[in-house]
């Protein structure tokens, strides 16, 4: 038995390393904790506050780990009249979906968890479109007015954001002439697609906030009227799980943005190893984009749901369609 395991690990070392360390589970856990810490610290500075300072000697870096442990030790309260199986299942499954999508993102030349040739970009969108369904299940299963309203708002927001973002990705796929994320990244060696696909990028960037459900489009969890939206009834480790899902979702969409528009792992040669170099550049781009995202989060008031849908259908979808037409014209002219 042991021999078999050693043999298996030796034969599949590359794949197992990717799944367990980078860009797999360890990276996701560490980066989620880093992203939350970074958000708290960065937003605190913009608010003239200090943010966490006490746990850990430097910049309160232990705070998030302490918070996670605290949440894990808390009681998990199952509401008496909730649909308990669905309540547990939807929350536990939530982080799996964006994590599965991240498995398709190339972090270096030929370095993704699943090196599928071919249709990875549509597959990524397909997996990510499952995410709102689990949010709706969470809101429904909690059997609570606030969570239910939050869940229905997710449906509306999905209509407003998912269609433009898919159309924007379609523009990139037409421009690149391929469905493959790896090939799309390789084609950006000379020029990032944010330049020829600028219209599409604008659509992507605005819809991105609807997809990650952060301000100005944190409509489903509108704190002021809905407590915490679909997440209201979750406590302890389950709450931690849903927050985890939230931030892995942010990570997945940001990684897709980098892959499609900002040259993925491409960057000046710093490390000799191309995979190490790619991972380095993708992390640098990730931090820069997260900083921009957090700056937007703090700069705007929350839109109302009808305003978000109007933005999506009146402005973003026509803009995305115009981008597709423009892309087709440019392609047929052979630019």
């Amino acid at each position: 038995m042991l021999d078999w395991i050693i043999e298996f690990v030796r034969n599949n070392f590359q794949t197992l390393f990717r799944i367990t360390f980078f860009p797999g589970l360890t990276f996701l856990f560490v980066f989620t904790i880093f992203a939350v810490w970074f958000q708290r610290k960065y937003l605190a500075r913009l608010m003239l506050r200090m943010g966490p300072v006490h746990a850990g000697k430097v910049l309160g870096w232990l705070q998030l780990i302490a918070d996670a442990f605290k949440l894990m030790t808390k009681e998990i309260i199952l509401p008496k009249y909730a649909y308990k199986k669905l309540f547990l299942f939807s929350a536990i499954t939530l982080p799996v979906i964006p994590a599965a999508a991240i498995a398709l993102i190339p972090f270096g030349p030929g370095y993704a968890i699943f090196n599928l040739p071919g249709y990875t970009a549509p597959l990524f969108l397909g997996i990510m479109s499952l995410y709102p369904i689990f949010i709706i299940l969470m809101g429904w299963a909690s059997n609570n007015k606030f969570t239910l309203i939050g869940a229905f708002r997710t449906i509306y927001l999905d209509v407003a954001g998912e269609i433009p973002i898919f159309l924007a990705v379609l523009g990139v796929m037409i421009w690149a002439g391929t469905y493959d994320l790896q090939t799309i990244v390789e084609m950006q060696r000379s020029m990032w697609f944010v330049i020829p696909q600028f219209l599409g990028f604008i659509v992507f960037f605005i819809s991105y906030f609807a997809m990650i459900e952060k301000a100005p489009m944190d409509i489903p969890e509108a704190e002021t009227e809905l407590v915490f939206g679909y997440r209201t009834e979750y406590t302890g480790a389950l709450f931690l799980d849903t927050m985890m899902g939230d931030y892995i979702n942010v990570l997945a969409w940001t990684l897709l943005m980098i892959t499609l528009y900002f040259g993925g792992y491409n960057g000046p040669q710093i490390f000799a190893d191309p995979i190490l170099n790619g991972a380095f550049w993708i992390l640098i781009k990730l931090i820069i984009l997260l900083t921009i995202t957090f700056t937007v989060i703090i700069s705007y008031a929350r839109l109302r749901i009808d305003q978000a849908i109007r933005l999506g259908w009146y402005y973003l979808i026509p803009l995305a369609l115009a981008n597709i037409v423009l892309t087709v014209i440019l392609k047929s002219l052979g630019v």
């Binding site: 937003l43 913009l46 608010m47 003239l48 506050r49 008496k80 009249y81 059997n143 609570n144 007015k145 606030f146 239910l148 309203i149 229905f152 301000a215 100005p216 944190d218 409509i219 509108a222 704190e223 002021t224 009227e225 407590v227 989060i297 703090i298 700069s299 705007y300 008031a301 929350r302 839109l303 109302r304 749901i305 009808d306 305003q307």
Partner: protein
């Protein structure tokens, strides 16, 4: 447990039968992040709001009754607890009523000191209100923390003058407790320059921000005639185009000698109410500058005579949330027989309850609508 009770517990939407097809009652508060020390019962179908019921009384402390057991100078201290942000303006009405009872006119220097402290308090109250208003429109707490931080220099000033940051108990019937400290004039003028600079930053950052206007413009429009009919108070009334301000219409303290205009807006929506507060802060800065330049020399307090000369008195003052009325009835002792307080928030809550009847309000509009009135449950509960 009866069968009906069982059914109610398993089905939170059982209320459908009593409210109508597809409607249910949403309980906003008293533990919701934005609700304050009270509760709003909102009848909604998930998106549109059909009725808002304000449930006050969670923080009733019987201040009117407490005042019957205290003499007029002791009464100042519990009375301030009505609105801790705006203590001196709340006190102003009471102090005026007592001075009317005893037939005492405070010395001119005391009047100017009162005006300065009133206006400093008004700025700090409006800053806090606007911060909450922005947060209720779905802003991250950034704006709220900025405005709270910018209250600090004002609170420091008040501490220098009165000895306390919040509850000064500085106004007493007959004047103020103490004279201004040395060197306060430069300090006040410096602080006013700082606040003015910060207000410019606010204009750029969020008062004229596009999303903020999208969320608040056209929300909860209070027409001029309805504002008068339902008795809206303070900035909420002035935002509907009614130029009524107690400081101008029934001037007290040093206001008759100072030059200022009443800020009004014609739109009557939530944004207008916030805007009126914002512009009033500029007026207050101007008033403080005028008052500190023209302040006369002399005494700051007079001693009250042993017995009141009148039996009853009615006085009003403009607080941050609107006009406050005090009616005092006395039987000739050093304590009031009855004090009746009519605070501004109480009247504004009535207006909030009426608003869904004349227009369409969405559920997401409820928090900005409420906070545009700057509701203060402690004020309404008394």
């Amino acid at each position: 447990m009866s069968h009906d009770m069982q059914r109610y517990l398993t089905d939170p939407f059982q209320e459908i039968t009593e409210l109508g097809e597809g409607l249910f009652r949403l309980n906003i508060g008293p533990q919701l992040p934005i609700s304050g020390q009270g509760r709003f019962l909102v009848v909604t179908d998930g998106e549109l709001v059909y009725d808002i019921e304000v449930d006050i009384g969670y923080s009733h402390r019987g201040i009117e009754k407490i005042l019957e057991y205290k003499n007029y100078i002791q009464g100042v201290v519990p009375l301030e607890r009505m609105v801790m942000l705006d203590t001196s303006n709340i006190l102003m009405g009471f102090v005026r009523a007592v001075e009317d009872l005893y037939g005492v006119e405070p010395p001119p220097r005391a009047k100017y000191i009162r005006t300065i402290i009133n206006e400093l308090n008004r700025i700090s109250s409006h800053l806090y209100a606007l911060g909450l208003f922005a947060e209720s429109a779905g802003w991250n707490p950034a704006v709220f923390i900025w405005t709270t931080a910018d209250r600090e220099p004002i609170l420091d000033l008040l501490e220098m003058i009165t000895g306390a940051r919040w509850s000064h108990s500085f106004f007493i019937p007959g004047g103020v407790r103490a004279d201004l400290p040395n060197g306060i004039k430069e300090r006040i003028l410096d602080t006013m320059d700082y606040i003015e600079k910060r207000l410019e930053v606010y204009e750029d950052a969020w008062i004229y921000n596009e999303t903020f206007r999208l969320r608040t413009e056209g929300v909860g429009v209070l027409p001029r005639d309805k504002a008068i009919e339902w008795g809206a108070a303070g900035p909420s009334l002035r935002a509907s185009g009614v130029a009524y301000d107690t400081r101008k219409n029934e001037p007290y303290s040093a206001y008759p000698e100072l030059d200022f205009k009443i800020v009004t807006h014609t739109a009557g929506d939530s944004y207008a109410r916030g805007w009126v507060r914002f512009e009033e802060m500029k007026v207050s800065i101007d008033l403080i500058r005028q008052a500190i330049e023209n302040i006369p020399e002399g005494r700051v307090k007079k001693t009250l005579p042993p017995r009141p000369v009148k039996q009853e008195a009615l006085a009003r003052a403009e607080t941050g949330r609107g006009e406050i009325n005090f009616y005092i009835y006395t039987e000739g002792r050093d304590k009031p027989y009855r004090v009746k307080i009519s605070p501004a928030s109480f009247r504004n809550f009535f207006v909030i309850e009426q608003l869904p009847k004349i227009q369409e309000i969405k559920l997401a509009d409820v928090p900005p609508l409420l906070y545009s009135f700057d509701p203060w449950f402690l004020d309404a509960d008394r």
